[in-house]
């Protein structure tokens, strides 16, 4: 697959609080040959407030988005925001029911004519682009960076609607970050809820829920928490001060995965837009570079030791073969084949360095 062309729904937060997600997503897609066609004059999907009011109202707002896409001939759409994704996906599911679909049309007065699909940017990255191609694009590996992936609650749930990855222990983002060179630490709270939009009406929610996530990330030794959801990012990053007031002392930067992709692809700094994060990420990168240097030194040492071992083994084998030559032809054949095998292994080891 050389190029992908797909409709794009940025979501409202992309214009404000998650503009770094928006910028890095566009830059990374450009780099990977994914053509994004923004839905013209798109509207808000209604988010939690709409589906909390009425399912048909929520679906009607989603339906207008798809109708706008239709006008531009767009059927397949991707979005970076899992909350938008869930609303749009649920709307499409519900609208398969004719009565529900008629209720939605009573609100929009714009019946849909095309087949529509909606997926997340993350899904396209792992399913269409694939981790191998991503690995191939890496110019500045994230080797030495210890990360935990935080998927949030909606990326994989509800399972029947999202149909993406394991709902309890997703690994798509893990694989993607590994492809960028980062060390992905096991993180048991990958899909725990951070409190979502309830951080505004209820002050006690974020310190407790987002706090628990940051706490665990710190405990497993992460340099940073990688996210894929604007709401999660805001709760974990912007509100980290509020959380710290609740007694958690660690500072953890919370970048979007697309920002790390932009950095690993060596895209311009404006594309990665790390300066938009509230908690500074640069100390984490500095730490990464120190660690990377240590790792490389270790690897060189190990490779040298391996090569030495292989050399000695080869020598021993050669000597044995010489001895065996006197003993008889059968034994010699067998032994020298063994020696060759060992040598081959040493060569492969050398190639890795």
């Amino acid at each position: 697959m050389s190029s992908i062309n797909v409709g794009y729904f940025p979501g409202c937060s992309g214009l404000g609080t998650s503009m770094e997600y928006e910028r890095s997503t566009r830059a990374v897609c450009r780099e990977l040959g994914i053509g994004l066609r923004e839905i013209p004059d798109w509207n808000c999907c209604g988010s939690t407030p709409a589906h909390s009011t009425d399912s048909a109202l929520s679906a009607a707002l989603a339906s207008r988005v798809f109708a706008q896409g239709e006008n531009a001939g767009i059927g397949d759409v991707i979005t970076p925001c899992p909350s938008c994704l869930k609303n749009l996906r649920v709307a499409l599911e519900h609208m398969e029911d004719p009565l529900f679909s008629a209720r939605v049309e009573a609100l929009t007065e714009r019946p849909l004519k095309m087949q529509h699909s909606i997926r997340s940017v993350l899904q396209v990255m792992v399913e269409d682009v694939g981790t191998e191609r991503i690995r191939g694009r890496v110019r500045r590996s994230l080797k030495g960076l210890k990360v935990v992936p935080y998927y949030g609650c909606l990326m994989t749930r509800p399972e029947k609607v999202m149909r993406f990855d394991d709902p309890e222990n997703p690994v798509a983002l893990d694989r993607l970050l590994e492809a960028l060179g980062a060390e992905v630490l096991p993180f048991p709270l990958k899909t725990d809820c951070c409190g979502g939009s309830f951080s505004i009406p209820s002050r006690k929610v974020t310190p407790r829920l987002a706090g628990r996530i940051l706490d665990m990330a710190g405990e497993v030794g992460a340099d940073l928490v990688v996210v894929a959801c604007p709401l999660c990012q805001m709760n974990l990053d912007l509100r980290q001060g509020q959380i710290r007031a609740g007694g958690i002392d660690r500072v953890l930067p919370v970048p979007y995965f697309t920002q790390l992709m932009a950095r690993a692809f060596a895209l311009p700094e404006a594309d990665a837009a790390f300066n938009k994060l509230v908690e500074d990420i640069e100390p984490a990168f500095a730490c990464m570079q120190r660690r990377a240097a240590d790792i490389e030194a270790e690897e060189r040492k190990a490779a040298a030791a391996e090569a030495e071992k292989a050399r000695l083994a080869a020598e021993r084998a050669a000597k044995a073969a010489e001895k065996a030559k006197d003993a008889g032809p059968d034994g010699a054949g067998a032994k020298s084949a063994g020696a060759k095998k060992t040598k081959g292994k040493a060569d492969a080891g050398g190639g890795d360095v």
């Binding site: 394991d166 709902p167 309890e168 222990n169 048991p188 709270l189 665990m216 405990e219």
Partner: protein, 652 residues
């Protein structure tokens, strides 16, 4: 023909939605019907007496009873008419309960339908002929499939009564799941102390032949005379030579093999004797872990074996046995609990299954009976038990209760306190199911005397934090979320029908339910029989049950088998095929389709003709539907009879 028709009310079961008197009235107008009446309970003694009296009074030569399913009471009524001097095959039933009164409430429609079913039965009866059974000799040998506690009980009971028994066990040792248990509830007596001697009895009984590490390959034949093929899997050790000294298992260099018997608690070797009390106590090689097989060189076990029993060239071997009856006692397997990613799905070493915990508790287990955390070998203090993992969970297709987890969890909580006096157990449960002798008292003792904290609610998630496991649950009685910091979590994993049970059922030609459990003949009255004559069930293969129930069923199956095989001759069902020699053209089509090889070609004045071997024919009628001449007819289900039923229905 003089037909009598009896319409059963079955109390209100039928009469509630069928006007039985009206059905009887309509039946009295059907051809050859000379007597028709409705009756309160046809199957009860007064009902049977009334039928007999009517036969005598009206000189009836055929009887129709409209009541429940013939699968239930056809034999009952056949015996009754026979007592009145009418051939038992001059009898038909109309199923107006399961197929009419119980599936709809419209009295008009039900009454009409019942009357039509009676008309069909009467039309069929008019073409019935008197039939007489033939008798055939019985092979007095019983096959028991599965060497768990149910199979052992069945085998020993049958063997003690003088029957020859062949036992097939797919693992290298008998003992089944019970052999893995440390103690048993509610007495907390040692499992191997009570099972061990029974296992030895199996090995030493002169009437029992044991094929361990063997599987049933094929079954043919029929009740009284089954032909069975057993595949003895290659153990790569000649068991005639092996003394069970265990030297090979000490010296085997492949020390990281999966320990099946110990449920993977600690590794084992590639050549194994599953456990010290194994029966037979013989070594076998697990090929997938063996260096000789994987790398082509090693041979350590062969070198150290003092009797030269190891044989890497060994092949599977097939044994053929003739038996008269079969007891299936294939037990159960644990549900694959790894589908619960919220419990770690196998990623957290300190989350173990109940069966693994049994092995940890067992003095002969891999930890020597010391409870230790698999992660760091430390002794746990806070132990959380989670019940209903894989039970009562429609979302994974296991909506049923496994039946024994409540009890073994209580037992394990008691044992935990015994092993680690300073420990605290927490048990998450939904309902405590303890209907057995001394069972509920037992679940009270664990709370009152042993201080286990029972929490009514499911666990939503388990995750590691700081060397501990955080258990997020609910206490629905308090109405709150609860959290426990645990050192060890034991999942009371539910059970399911053992792997490949459906394939075995198909070999035995018995039915199984949607979960793979074998179907009993009747849920109440034929708990150990199946619908295939001569095949019986014992233990959890029929439905999950605890040890006492499995043992009881083992004995019951043995009793049923003995009842069958105590006779020298069996009566064959005369509802079999027969050939009209005039019509038969000797085309051999019937011979080709017969699944039982019950038809042979004979020469009749130079003409080839088909002939049915009466005691072999099972009465399926496949030949009847195949015969292009209509020359071979299945008695009691002839073409004319079935067409008469169709006609009785469609003409009106």
């Amino acid at each position: 023909m003089k037909i009598g028709v009896f319409i059963c009310h079955c109390g209100s079961n039928i009469a509630g939605t069928v006007d039985c008197a009206a059905v009887a009235e309509r039946a009295s107008t059907y051809p050859d019907v000379v007597y028709a009446t409705d009756i309160m309970y046809a199957c009860a003694e007064p009902g049977q007496d009334a039928i007999i009296a009517a036969i005598k009074k009206h000189g009836l030569t055929g009887v129709v009873v409209a009541s429940c399913t013939p699968r239930m009471h056809e034999p009952t009524f056949r015996k009754a008419v026979e007592r009145a001097g009418v051939n038992r095959y001059m009898f038909e039933m109309a199923n107006i309960r399961e197929h009419v009164s119980w599936i709809g409430k419209d009295i008009e429609a039900n009454t009409n339908k019942a009357a039509e079913l009676v008309r069909m039965a009467a039309a069929k009866l008019r073409l019935d002929r008197e039939l007489k059974p033939k008798s055939f000799p019985v092979t007095k040998r019983l096959l028991v499939i599965g060497g768990g506690v149910a199979g052992i009980q069945a085998a020993l009971d049958a063997a003690d009564a003088g029957l020859e028994v062949v036992m097939v066990e797919k693992q290298p040792t008998i003992g089944g799941k019970m052999a893995k248990l440390d103690k048993t509830f509610p007495t907390v007596d040692c499992s191997s102390c009570i099972l061990g001697p029974r296992m030895v009895d199996v090995a030493q009984h002169p009437n029992i032949t044991l094929y361990a590490y063997a599987e049933l390959e094929e079954v043919s034949g029929y009740v009284g005379n089954f032909d069975v093929k057993i595949r003895k899997k290659a153990t790569y050790v000649d068991w005639d030579k092996c003394t069970g000294c265990g030297l090979c298992t000490e010296k085997c260099p492949s020390k990281k093999s999966y320990d099946r018997f110990n449920e993977g608690v600690g590794p084992t070797t590639a050549i194994i004797i599953p456990f010290p009390q194994a029966i037979p106590k013989k070594a076998s090689i697990e090929r997938e872990y063996c260096r000789q097989f994987n790398k082509g060189k090693c041979g350590v076990c062969a070198k150290v074996c003092p009797t030269g029993a190891v044989n890497y060239e060994m092949q599977d071997e097939t044994v053929e046995v003739k038996v008269g009856g079969i007891v299936a006692a294939t037990g159960y397997d644990l549900v694959d609990w790894k589908v619960y990613s919220e419990y770690g799905g196998g990623r957290y070493p300190d989350v173990v299954t109940s069966l693994q915990y049994e092995r940890m508790l067992s003095a002969s287990g891999p930890t020597g009976g010391h409870v230790k955390r698999p992660s760091d070998g430390t002794e746990p203090v806070n132990v959380v038990f989670v019940q209903c993992v894989g039970s009562r969970d429609p979302s994974i297709g296991r909506p049923y209760c496994s039946g024994f987890c409540c009890m073994y969890t209580a037992k394990q909580a008691i044992l935990t306190k015994d092993h680690i006096p300073g420990s605290q157990s927490y048990v998450f449960y939904m309902d405590i199911r303890s209907p057995g002798k001394g069972y509920d008292e037992f679940t009270r003792r664990v709370q009152e005397e042993y201080g286990a904290r029972y929490v009514r609610g499911r666990v939503s998630m388990i995750y590691p934090k700081g060397g501990k496991l955080m258990v997020r649950g609910a206490d629905t009685l308090m109405g709150t979320q609860v959290e426990v910091e645990a050192d060890l979590v034991v999942l009371a994993v539910g059970a399911e029908a053992s792997a490949n049970s459906s394939a075995l059922a198909e070999k035995l030609r018995i039915s199984y339910d949607g979960y793979g459990f074998f179907m009993e003949g009747h849920p109440k009255l034929k708990p150990v029989e199946t619908n295939t004559a001569g095949v019986f069930l014992a233990g959890s293969c029929q439905g999950l049950k605890d040890i006492p129930s499995s043992v009881a069923q083992g004995s019951a199956a043995a009793a049923k088998a003995l009842g069958l095989l105590s006779r020298d001759m069996l009566d064959s069902d005369p509802q079999i095929a027969s050939v009209s020699v005039n019509r038969c053209v000797g085309c051999r089509k019937c011979i080709e389709v017969c699944p039982f090889k019950a038809i042979q070609e004979v020469d009749m004045r130079g003409q080839p003709k088909a002939e049915v071997i009466e005691t072999v024919c099972q009465g399926c009628g496949l030949c009847n539907a195949t015969c292009p001449q209509g020359a071979i007819q299945l008695s009691h289900f002839t073409d004319n009879q079935i067409l008469a039923e169709v006609e009785a229905l469609c003409r009106f």
